[in-house]
């Protein structure tokens, strides 16, 4: 099983990414690409087992707004870590649609981007093959303080300084 960083611990990932209902037939927990989900929404939602949707970097989270309560995972892909669209997508999921489930970073995910990802509301990370989850975990503690408002700490430093 693939190792997943959940919060700040390593766990076995119960989810498998599939491309079709057939592939998902004997699996409990699956993640499906947005287009596949949208095409057969009713069937996917009728399945037993947990469901996640996979968003490409350019996908708009708004498409999922109505379905979020049924989703255990929203996975956001980083085709390259320099494509930063997923950071905004995660913040919108958390702050605009108030999604409370797992927001998972997949793709080009490694130690040096972990801190930013966590601040934008990602709470699960599938680390790329050329890094290790153990190493990536170190990235979560790069900085002990941050100036801006984030999903992790909505109050920016200047409000916390007052408290």
């Amino acid at each position: 099983m693939v190792k997943l960083i959940l919060g700040s611990t390593l766990v076995d990932d119960s989810f498998v990414t599939v491309e079709s209902l057939e592939q998902a037939a004997n699996l409990p927990d699956v993640i499906v690409p947005l287009t596949v989900f949208v095409a057969h929404k009713a069937q996917w939602l009728a399945r037993s087992g947990k469901l996640g949707v996979w968003l490409a970097a350019g996908d708009d989270a708004e498409v999922l707004a109505e379905d979020l309560e049924h989703l255990s995972v929203v996975a956001i892909d980083f085709p390259s870590f320099t494509d930063g669209r997923g950071y905004s997508t995660a913040r919108l999921l958390r702050e605009k649609y108030h999604y409370r489930g797992q927001v998972r970073a997949v793709g080009d995910v490694f130690r040096d981007v972990m801190f930013y990802l966590a601040r934008c509301g990602f709470n699960a990370f599938v680390v790329r093959a050329s890094d290790t989850p153990e190493n990536a975990l170190l990235g979560l503690n790069t900085f002990s303080e941050s100036y801006q408002s984030g999903v992790d700490k909505p109050a920016p430093l200047y409000r916390r300084r007052l408290a």
Binding site: F81, G84, D112, Y116, T142, F143, S144, L162
Partner: protein, 558 residues
Amino acid sequence: MYQYDEIDQRIVDERVAQFRSQTQRFLTGELSEDDFRPLRLQNGLYIQRHAPMLRVAIPYGVLSSRQLHMLAHIARTYDRGLGHFTTRQNIQYNWPPLERVPDILADLATVQMHAIQTSGNCVRNTTTDHFAGVAADELIDPRVYCELIRQWSTFHPEFAYLPRKFKIAVNGAVADRAATWVHDIGLHVCTDDAGHLGFRVIVGGGLGRTPIIGTVIREFLPVQHVLTYLDAILRIYNRHGRRDNKHKARIKILVKSLTPERFQQEVEEEWARLKDGPATVVPEELARIEARMIRPQYAALPAQSAVLKEALERDIPFKRWHERNVHAHKVAGYASVVLSLKPTGTPPGDASAVQMDAVADLADQYGFGEIRVSHEQNLILPDIAQDDLPALYLALKELGFATPNIGLLTNIIACPGGDYCSLANARSIPVAQAIQERFNDLDELYEIGELDLNISGCMNACGHHHVGHIGILGVDKHGQEFYQITIGGSQAPARIGRVIGPSVSQEEVPDVMEQLIDVYLEQRNGGHERFVDVVERVGLEPFRARIYDEPHLEVANG
């Protein structure tokens, strides 16, 4: 200038540790070249033609004497004893060994400095008026807001990997000395009918390949909303800016393709949700930043200095220097002094370690220990008692920083160009030097009067050639260095210069400059009509005709 507290210091120290780890992992092969490149760029580290280049941030162009001494120390210890001040109020070192860069950053951190986000596709150093705090027409000191924005942008988790670099300028005065119309975002202070302070928000200006004057998307943004509004703009840009073509990735292209109206609407919708949220600025924070700004303790001086008056009557070269390089100050008896880093024969903006140390000492001796870096790549001693001007003049002359050419043709802005920069099509520095040599006669320079001459070595326009009264752009023609000439550009009001004709070779540039000046002198209506005004009035044709219709010049095709 803003003094760090314990948290500001800790964040910078943690950055040093992070970059040390990244550099080590790169050197051991754990991080690939492709991974390391964006990471090092976010620390201002380029791999250049000859060696790495490190760009150190000088937030909004303000330095203490202690910091300038440190910049000298770095030039001496890790470089070849030189630093290059840039048009974005930063400093660059051209020869630091890669493996020593973490040590450089550690040294910088001891004086509250860093290289954070001086490059890369993130929010860069916020720039402002280099006369902030001393200009008479100021409504607010923009540096308080620059510091607020510096903190907001530092490691902003959502906007570290934007489609392209992102530059914000803040102007706090009536006159725009921060070029707010040619930045990704320009914030220009204003007041509403009730006298509340706010900003006019200008978006999508910029130079580079596609020079565009920005558009106002909000006439009045109350100051407390500045960060939520920036968040909204950046979010729209981060999500929708083009990422498939780096030449179309700046926000100006997005604003243009959506139309400014549509862009504004999207921003306002996004902002409606963020407005009054946790990122709304609290007045206590503005007060806290203000309290951490070290302000000069001015003495009560007579408005007219007898010492100065006497020197102006007696000493012609001093008078000349005073006329060009000394600016009025809002406090009676004081003046701001511009140190020209443009003497003939040295690359524009260069200063040696010895010179930096000397300037820092002068700032302590005659000022309040503060130095500014100007957009024109000069240094400024902002708070000098008028009584001290004659003595300071002599000291600056000794240093080679008293060339009385501020605002004149030889105060050339030039990017590092082909001598240092791997992106260059052509060299900038030798061209600047050839022009300075050609116009070495001070009387002639004064006769020509105010003229901004800007040189960039390629389309990236680091030398801001589009907004020069005369702009020179290096172009590559069949592997040879050529130069395209524009005239009629201006920084304030922002205007983009127009191309006069086919590009010319390096040897021809000084001749072309002379011809442009000849036409100007023939055409102008009296000494007060500037070069740029004449271009505005008579158009390109007389200039073009002189250069291209006469047989002496051989030009390449188109």
